[in-house]
Amino acid sequence: MSLKLLTQEYVEEAQRMDSEQRAEKTLRPVEGFPFWPHEMIRNIVVLCFFTAAMLYVTSLMPYYLESPADPAGQPAVILPDWYLLWSYGLLKWGNDLEILNGPGGAWVGEPWHFWDREWWTPWDMGPDTGIVQMPIVGPMNAETVGLIGLHTPLIIFIFALPFFDRGKAQRPQEQPLMASLGVFLLAVLSTATIYSINNVIYDRWPVMATPILQEQIEPFLQFLQWDLLSWLCALIPVLLTVGTYVGIRVWRERMMERGDRVYTLNRNYHRVR
């Protein structure tokens, strides 16, 4: 069969399929904005701009090469790359915060394994804290507190998110709780990032190391003898979260009172869905 005939056959075949499908009405509508070509066509503009910006930045700013590794000379500051600092910060929290390590670090130490004698006889061998030790827990390695204790809830939250947050709402305004949880996540990751370079911060801004409210707090809550930096890292996420929640609620009330047109439409639309 010649190429020409074959080509012609393809064209006819395509036409036949088209009309057949139209007659069959097997086409199903989708719930979503089409990715191709509608989304991609407008993305292409941004992508061209991005490519240009990339080449521009690259030609202006080459990346430096550090001095070679010296296993004997540990540098004063060791840091992972910036996008892993949050993880390093969680490790440091696990190490530094007495609230996680028990009074005087009583809950951490050499880890017990279930094949160790200590695992089975905690009342006998455990540290003298006056707190009854659950045999299942056992003292943990301080690194484990940050590694397992602080990373796991985060990862579980992110993985499980679509399975516990259901429903049709799609805008932060419709679900103030989820919106403020997102803000909390963002803020905690940011403050963990900041805390991970705490020695640099103490060095440059010694005021950050000032102990806060020691006399007032010490008699009641020993484990809260934090410095300014720790208090900021703990309070900023909470403030932002509460602020987001209250802010959205207040904004919604106000919109409702005013009978805002867009707000009403959105609400009706939400009901229709």
Partner: protein, 268 residues
Amino acid sequence: MGPETSDTMDARRDGFTEPGPVGRMLLALFAWVDERFRLRNYADEFRHFYYQINLELPRTHTEKYNLRVIWYWYPLYTLGSIAFLAFIFAAISGILLTFYYVPSTAEATVNGVQATEAWESMTVIMTEVPLGFGIRALHFWSGMVMVWAVVLHMFRVYFTQAYKKPRELNWLLGVVLFLLTMGLGYTGYILPWSQLSYWAAIIGLEMSIATPILGQYLAGLLFGGVELGQQTITRMYVLHVILLPLLTFGAAVLHVVIVWWQGIAEPH
């Protein structure tokens, strides 16, 4: 872009009678391959699949209620594409870098400084290879941009709640992509075997050892033992150059295909 109905789509496809010169060439090419591999069966199925998807354009909230507003969060919807493009840039420049990089901790002296062959090959890239510093810069910046884009993309998906039904599995795939991106960054950071690389590897090694029960095995698997050495750099090299990029590419393509399949969660 006005509202599109199934009528206008049909009209466009009715016009598909005579392909242009390029179309004719492509068809001829296709026919040539088809004569050998009988691709037509699959092509028909693929075309059927393609037309089933996204045929009827939904009307957005804006259109439905005739609102005169634009979706001002729109730029955030390009972040996924930016992450993908940055990955492609990093892959191309990375392939060029592997031509010159030597994953070895054998001793080498560069201008009287004690170093390793890995670090020496970095100096070669930076000073001798034509435009080597530029290729490295492109690799570095595309990596940085990719991480930023992925993180911001994740938060855009979170705040527009695009992870809900029917997109749950795509969110999970996205989390995997996020972890892969972090892994790519970490393993790449080790490769030059500079001061920072070395001590970052030490942190990673200590973290894996601190993992309960599995610690020793994890350190052995990822770092080739409880001490840093040639095994470490070999494993990081294989992870950074072969394993993680392949996984990331595969997962990213699947992720985007699923987005194409399901459509973008309707902005409204």
